[in-house]
């Protein structure tokens, strides 16, 4: 039940955030009808730009485990950072909202 409670709280938070952001999303779609296409082009551009990245790395004698290590390190580092910031945010919110 504890797991379900946590899921329930998270669902509530996600639902509330969706509800809060829905007017902005509606405004975005009304004002910029091609917004989704815009993001699609950004990703297409990046995909095209990254086509020969692997070749360049191979020419410079890099190996993929090096970058895997680097990426995973940043994932761990910023996950901890975001977790700490989330805890601080929750504590601050509690301090502001408590009677």
């Amino acid at each position: 039940m504890l797991q379900i409670l946590i899921q329930f709280v998270m669902n509530i938070i996600v639902t509330i955030i969706e509800f809060i952001f829905s007017p902005f999303l509606n405004a975005l779609f009304a004002l910029f009808p091609s917004l989704a296409q815009y993001f699609y082009y950004i990703v297409s551009f990046l995909t095209t730009g990254f086509t020969y990245i692997g070749t360049c790395l191979n020419l410079l004698c890099f190996t993929t485990p090096m970058f895997t290590l680097l990426f995973d390190y940043f994932v761990i580092k910023y996950s901890i950072h975001i977790l700490i910031q989330a805890i601080k945010f929750a504590i601050n919110m509690y301090n502001k909202l408590k009677p």
């Binding site: 692997g54 190996t63 945010f89």
Partner: protein, 415 residues
């Protein structure tokens, strides 16, 4: 200069070791001194020359209480001249009277067989014993060193109020006995002894003055803790005082009333304790029930949170960034972490020729040791960066920069 530095280092090491050894030796000597003091205090030889310890006090009180209880069991049979007194109890007191020994009594209730067993031991104070302490005429023995002269088992039948005795079995040495103390008679035992073996050798009767015994019984009843009193003991006390009242023409109404009031107070306290125990048991059951409910609630996996959240308002509009932007990080990671090298092909304009740069152009022409050396250098750079970054982060955390939460600056903290 170098030799001087080495000498300074060596001197500092020796100085620090001397300080450590000095501290250790002082600590060790202190602990050794405290341990020797504790051993001396706990030994019997030192205990004999000091005052009685609380443990000895407990044993003495237990012995006196057992003597008082034994008198209460003997009082009614003696005054009514019953068969139980003549055949079973009187021989014990006769042994005590003729040998002039001090009894020690161990009372043991065997609830499973609904009978009360009294172990009566008698000690000769001149008997040789190993260990034990002597203080104010009280002898404290270890259980394995008790000099038993005579002993019996007295069986009180709770239902019939009958008394029988048995000689203690010969295998007493195999029975585990508690540490006992002898040498001190209770006042009640002394009074009863005088009553049984009075001036003419047959005490009691209507002419005997029971004032002292009744006062001692009153004090004994007042000293009994209500939570440890058993109904059989109360019954024997009541039988004894009723027997005194029935056979004596002297008016003991005030003493009897005091004893009745004491027993009544004790029973009231016992009822109060019983009711408190019942309340506590009920409270404990409530707590256990609530804990069970809480556990079952926390461990319940049958329900689902979707039943509530599904009924909340939803925004069905698709997220414009959901399909592509979410994968940007994965795309970056996959590009750099997967083997997807491909040849670079240039198309020469207006011809059908192409220029191809193979992906393994460098690696195929560099010898393997040099390639390993270059890749090792890269590994060194990346690992050095990670270690430096971790140390920098740790320093920031130690200085409180990361964990410092400012109340009014949530936005800055989040960003």
């Amino acid at each position: 200069m170098d030799y001087y530095n080495l000498f300074c280092i060596f001197r500092n090491i020796v100085f620090n070791f001397r300080k450590i050894f000095k501290y250790i030796s002082i600590s060790f000597l202190s602990i050794l001194f405290i341990a020797i003091c504790l051993l001396l205090l706990s030994s019997n030889k030192v205990q004999a020359s000091t005052s009685i310890t609380p443990t000895d006090e407990f044993l003495i009180n237990k012995s006196l209480s057992a003597q008082n209880q034994f008198v209460c069991f003997c009082l009614f049979p003696f005054l009514n001249d019953t068969q139980a007194w003549q055949q079973n109890l009187k021989p014990i007191w006769d042994d005590m009277h003729t040998s002039n020994l001090t009894p020690y009594i161990v009372l043991q209730q065997d609830s499973s067989q609904n009978r009360f067993i009294v172990h009566l031991y008698k000690y000769n104070t001149t008997s040789s014993y190993v260990g034990g302490t002597i203080d104010d005429g009280v002898y404290i023995y270890n259980s394995s060193n008790v000099p038993i002269v005579n002993s019996r088992i007295i069986i009180y039948d709770e239902t019939n109020n009958s008394v029988t005795t048995e000689q203690f079995p010969s295998f007493i040495s195999n029975i585990q006995m508690p540490t006992v103390c002898v040498g001190q008679r209770s006042d009640l035992l002394f009074d009863f002894y005088n009553m049984v073996y009075g001036s003419n050798g047959s005490g009691g009767g209507s002419s005997y003055d029971y004032t002292q015994i009744l006062n001692d019984i009153k004090l004994y009843v007042q000293g009994i803790k209500s939570d440890t009193a058993n109904l059989l003991l109360l019954n024997s006390i009541l039988q004894g005082v009723n027997a005194i009242a029935s056979i004596s023409p002297i008016d003991y109404s005030s003493q009897l009333q005091d004893i009745a009031d004491s027993i009544s107070d004790m029973l009231d306290k016992q009822d109060e304790i019983i009711s408190q125990n019942e309340e506590m048991i009920g409270l404990q059951e409530d707590i256990n029930e609530n804990l069970d409910d809480l556990n079952s609630f926390l461990r319940d996996t049958t329900s689902s949170p979707g039943n509530v959240t599904n009924n909340m308002p939803h925004n069905d509009m698709p997220d414009p960034t959901a399909s592509q932007v979410d994968n940007i990080f994965n795309m970056f990671r996959n590009v750099f972490s997967t083997e997807n090298a491909q040849d670079i092909v240039f198309q020469v304009p207006h011809t059908n020729e192409t220029i191809t740069i193979p992906a393994n152009l460098v690696t195929s022409h560099i010898p393997e040791p040099i390639l390993v050396l270059i890749q090792g250098f890269y590994w060194f750079l990346i690992c050095r960066f990670i270690v430096k970054d971790i140390s920098k982060t740790v320093e920031r955390a130690k200085s409180g920069e990361i964990l410092d939460a400012k109340d009014g600056n949530i936005k800055t903290d989040l960003l």
